[in-house]
Symmetry: C2
C-alpha cells in the first residue's frame, strides 16, 4: 500500500502472496511496483506493521527495485526482517530503524504514530498517519484479545483518542469479516494444551506457523508446567525462535529449550519428557512434520504413543496436503488433534463484533476494507453500513486502484499497473502468462515432440519423423499409438510437399506452414484417439 | 467392496474417486479390479446403495472388465445409473434390476435385505447380507434425519430388529466421525431458504450437487411458496432432475419448472419471479455457475440484485475454486450466501452421536469403519471403543486388505492388488506413475529440448545443438540464457567426442552416454543459473 501526499510517499507493508493452484511452479507472488519507478526519490520510508510473510516477504525483491528506502518497524519485526534480508545478502544495503508503539516519526509531510494491536505475532502495530488533509488510520492485522499471551492488549485508549480527534479514512483488516461474534483469545489455547499435555503419555509434537511466536511461547509454558524439554525443528522455526529469544520476545527457563544441534538427545529422554515444536502446519512437502509423517525425517521417527497437535488452520488451498499429513501420522500410530472443537488454534484476526468495535472507536469518515478476499471486503463494507457509514463513503478497491481522499470527499480516480509478479527460483518476473499457460497444458496432458531433419538444398526430409512424448502416455506401452501418430505426420508431410511443389515460384519450403500442418493433423488424431490435448511441438532441423 | 463366501461374490457399490491435486490431468480414479479377474463367474451381482458418483461412477469402466453382472438398485438409483450407462452406450449390455427397501433377494448363498436410510439423495439403502456364517450389515451413506424432505426416516425398526437377531460385522459410514453431535436435519435448509427468498428482491440462484435431489425439491418448494418459476441449468443437473421427475422423486406443480429449452423466457420475467438451480457448487471451471461468475455463460448474466445461494460444502481440494467463484459473483454485484451460520447446506452423513446410535442399534460383534479418510476411520474406531466394542474387534482396513470373518473371529489375512486406476480422456489405466511424475516435473518448470542431427557414418554432429523450451522461461526474453545453455551443450558434445575417439575399438559413438552427459551438464547449468529443474530432453537424429 502506497500513501502519497504531494512529493511524499510512505509505503505500508511489502508482503508476498502464496501462489494459487494454477500458478504452476511459481514460488512466490510479489507486487508490481511499476507505479513507484518514476517516484523513487519521493519515498520517505517503508513501515512494516508486523513480521508475517504476507507483510514482509517481498522486501528482498522489492527493495532493490526502489533504491532501498529506510524501513521502519518494531523491534521484533525488525529482527525478523533482518534475518530474512541477511539470508538474501542484502542486510548491508538497508537501513532498518526501530520504533515502539506510542512513538511518532516524521516522513516528509506525513507523520506516523503507532499503536499496539494484538495479532498472532507479538509486537504488531497499527498506524495513524497525519497528513495535511486529515488523519488516516491503518489497523494492521488485529484482533481485540483481552488476555493475550504477552499481556499487551490492543491499545483501546489510543484508538478512542484518534476517534475523538477525528479520522478521515480508516483502512481496516477484513480477513474474518465473514465470522460472526468475537475471535477467541489466545488464552483458550493454553487450556487446550493443558489438558492434552496432561493426558499425553508419550511425546507431544506441536506444529504451527514459524511466525506464531506467541503460540511457541504457549508450548514452552505448557512444557514447563508438565516437566518436558522442548526441541525446535525446521529451518524457519529455528530461525524465528532464535530471533525472538535473542530479542526477549520468547522466554524459557534455562535448560528447557534444547539447542537445534542437540535434538538427538531428546531421543534418549523418556517420551513423556519431550515436546517438539516443528514446521509443517500447512503440509508443505519438504517441511519437517511432513517428512516425519512420510517416515522421511533424519532425526525424528513417529511412533505409537506420540501426540501431534496441529496448532494452525490450513491456508485455503492447502487443505488436501494438511489432511494427508494427518492421515499419515495416524497410520504411524500417532494421536492427532486438529480443527474445530479442539481449541488447539485460534485466529489472529478480528471477527465481526471486533470490526464493529474498531469502527465505533475510530468513527472514520471514509472506510477502505483491506486484507481479505473480495468477499470479505464486501462483507466488511456491509457491516460498516449497518453501523451507519453511508455506502458512498465506503470504498471496496483492488490492487492498482488509486483512491484520492480529501476533506471534500473521496473517489477512485485511476487504476495504475499493480498486478502480480511471479518469482520462480532465481527468476523474478521472467515467468508470465505464456509460460504458465504452457505449464498448464503440459501438466494436463504432457507433450508430443515431432522431430524431422531435412536437406536444406532440396527441402526433402532425410530423417524422421520421429515422435517422442513425455507426460502423455507411457511410451513403452503405447508403441502402436505412437506409430500411428507417426504415419499421420508422414502423410501430412507428403501433402505439404505436394503443396509446395505445386507452387514452383516458391523455392524454399515454407516450414512454418508444414509445422502448423503437422500440429493440426496430429492434434486432431490424438484428440480423436485419446480425448487428450497434449502440447504438440514439431521441430525441423535443416542440414 | 467385495463380499465373498465360497464361490459366491457380491459387489457393493462401484464408485469413482475424484483426482487429488497431484494426479495431474487425470479425470477420474476408478478401482483396480484385478482380484476379480479369475472369479468372474462367481459374481452374483452388484448392489448399489444410492445414486451418488462415489458409489456409481466407475460402473461404465468396471462393468466391461467383469462381464456385466446384474446390477441391483432402488428405482431412483437405477434411473440415475441407466442415464449414465446410456451416455456411455452400455445400456443394452447391462441388466439393472430394482428392489424396494424391505425387499430380500438371493445372490448365491448370500441373501440381501435392504433397509431405507436418509442421505443427501432419496432412495438410499443399507444392506443386511445374510451369509452362512452370520449377518453382515453395510450402513450405506446415512444420517438419522427425523424430518427428511421425503418424509422417509432411516428405518430404525429394521436396524433394531437386525441388532436383536445378531450381527456378525457392521460396515459403517465414517465420513463425519470427526464431527461432534448430530448432523442437522435437511429441514433446517427449508427455513434458511424461506428467509432468503422472502428478502430477495431480484432473482435467486441456487447451486448444489446435481445428485442432491432433496435439495432441488426444497428449492422448488420455496419457489412455489414465493411465486417464482424455476429454471434448471447445467447438463448434469438437467439430466438428474429429468430422471428424478420422471420417476416421481421430484414433484413440482404444473408450470413451475421451466423446460431447459425455454430458459430464455425467464430473462423476460420480472427478476423477483425467477429461481435458477444450477451446477457449479464446486467451482468447476466449465460448470454453469462458474461461467456466469466469469461473464461467460450463454444465457445467464449475473446482475446486481441477484442472490446466489451456495447450497453445498466444498469437497476438500476445491476450496480455492469455490472461493474464486464467490468473489467473482460479488464483483458482478450479486449477494452471495455460503458457509457456516447460513444454514443453506447440511451434510448427508452421520455425526458422532448418530454413529453411536447406529452401533447401539446394530450391536455388531465386529466393526469395520468405511467411507472416510484414514483419520475418520480411526476416530470412528475410537467412538466404538468408547461404546465398549473391544479394540481387537474393530478393523481399520484400507483398499486391498482382505478381512476374513467367521463366528470364531476375524482377521486381515492378505492384501490383494486394489490400487487406483486413472482415467484420462478415453484412456483407462494408460496413465501411471511414470506419466504423472513427468507431468509433475513439466508443470513445475517446463521442458528444455536439445536437438542434434549427426552423421551416421562419422558420428559427427552436422546440425545443432538447438534448444527449444516450453514452460521454462519466456524464450523471446531469454535468448541470452538459451544461447549460454547451447554453448554448454556444445562443450559437452566436444568432450564426449574426445572420450569416444580415445577408445578406437568403439566404432559407434555411444549416444546414450552423450545424451546423459548433455542432460547432466545442462541440468547443472540451468539449476545454477535459475534454481529451476525443468525436464531436459536430448534428442539425437542420425542421417
Amino acid at each position: 500500500m502506497v500513501v502519497e501526499y504531494g512529493d511524499d510517499i510512505v509505503i505500508i507493508d511489502v508482503g508476498v502472496m502464496f501462489p494459487e493452484n494454477e500458478m504452476l511452479g511459481v514460488d512466490l507472488v510479489i507486487p508490481d511496483v511499476t507505479y513507484l519507478r518514476d517516484k523513487l526519490d519521493h519515498i520517505r520510508g517503508i513501515i512494516i506493521t508486523h513480521g508475517h510473510e504476507d507483510h514482509t516477504g517481498s522486501l528482498p525483491y522489492v527493495l532493490p527495485q526502489i533504491n532501498f528506502p529506510p524501513i521502519w518497524a518494531t523491534r521484533l519485526t525488525a529482527g525478523l526482517i533482518s534475518a530474512k534480508l541477511k539470508e538474501h545478502r542484502l542486510l548491508d544495503r538497508v537501513s532498518i530503524r526501530t520504533f515502539a508503539s506510542g512513538d511518532r516519526i516524521q516522513l516528509g509531510r506525513l507523520a506516523a504514530e503507532f499503536f499496539h494491536v494484538c495479532h498472532s505475532i507479538p509486537d504488531g502495530v497499527g498506524i495513524a498517519l497525519e497528513t495535511p488533509v486529515g488523519t488516516i488510520v491503518h489497523s494492521g492485522d488485529f484482533k481485540f484479545d483481552y488476555t493475550p499471551v504477552d499481556q499487551r492488549q490492543t491499545d483501546f485508549a489510543k484508538l478512542a483518542e484518534l476517534g475523538s480527534r477525528g479520522v478521515l479514512c480508516l483502512f481496516s483488516d477484513s480477513t474474518h469479516a465473514d465470522r460472526p461474534g468475537y475471535t477467541p483469545s489466545e488464552a483458550v489455547v493454553s487450556d487446550a494444551f493443558d489438558s492434552i499435555f496432561a493426558a499425553a503419555r508419550g511425546r507431544v509434537i506441536v506444529t504451527t506457523f514459524a511466525s506464531l511466536i506467541s503460540r511457541v511461547q504457549q508450548v514452552i509454558d505448557a512444557a514447563v508446567r508438565y516437566d518436558r524439554k522442548v526441541g525446535v525443528i525446521g529451518r524457519s522455526m529455528v530461525q524465528n525462535v532464535t530471533v525472538a529469544q535473542d530479542l526477549g520476545y520468547l522466554t524459557a527457563p534455562p535448560g528447557v529449550l534444547v539447542r537445534p544441534d542437540e535434538i538427538g538427545i531428546l531421543n534418549k529422554l523418556p517420551p513423556r519428557q519431550v515436546v517438539l515444536i516443528t514446521t509443517g502446519s500447512q503440509g508443505e512437502p519438504t517441511s519437517a512434520l511432513t517428512r516425519m509423517a512420510n517416515r522421511d525425517h533424519r532425526q525424528i521417527e513417529i511412533v505409537p504413543g506420540d501426540t501431534v497437535i496441529m496448532s494452525a488452520a490450513p491456508i485455503p488451498g492447502n487443505e488436501e496436503l494438511v489432511s494427508r499429513t494427518i492421515d499419515n501420522l495416524f497410520r504411524l500410530g500417532a494421536n492427532v488433534l486438529w480443527g474445530h472443537g479442539t481449541n488447539v488454534h485460534v485466529s489472529g484476526h478480528a471477527s465481526q463484533e471486533e470490526l464493529k468495535l474498531m469502527l465505533s472507536l475510530i468513527k472514520p469518515r471514509f472506510l477502505v476494507p483491506i486484507h481479505g478476499e473480495y468477499r470479505h471486503l464486501i462483507l466488511h463494507a456491509r457491516l460498516a453500513q449497518g453501523l451507519g457509514v453511508p455506502s458512498g463513503n465506503i470504498f471496496v478497491i483492488e490492487d492498482g486502484d488509486v483512491l484520492e481522499v480529501s476533506p471534500d470527499g473521496a473517489e477512485v480516480t485511476e487504476h495504475v499497473s499493480a498486478g502480480y509478479v511471479f518469482v520462480d527460483g532465481l527468476g523474478v518476473g521472467d515467468v508470465g502468462q505464456v509460460v504458465l499457460r504452457d505449464r498448464q497444458v503440459l501438466s494436463q496432458d504432457g507433450i508430443l515432440i515431432v522431430m524431422i531433419t531435412v536437406d536444406r538444398r532440396t527441402g526433402m526430409p532425410i530423417a524422421g519423423p520421429e515422435i517422442v512424448s513425455r507426460g502423455f502416455v507411457y511410451m513403452r506401452e503405447s508403441e502402436e499409438l505412437i506409430e500411428r501418430a507417426r504415419r499421420q505426420v508422414q502423410l501430412a508431410l507428403e501433402q505439404a510437399r505436394t503443396v509446395s511443389l505445386a507452387e514452383p515460384q516458391q523455392v524454399d519450403v515454407d516450414w512454418q506452414y508444414v509445422k502448423n500442418k503437422i500440429r493440426d493433423v496430429l492434434s486432431k488424431f490424438v484428440y480423436d484417439t485419446t480425448r487428450r490435448r497434449p502440447m504438440i511441438l514439431p521441430l525441423v532441423m535443416e542440414v
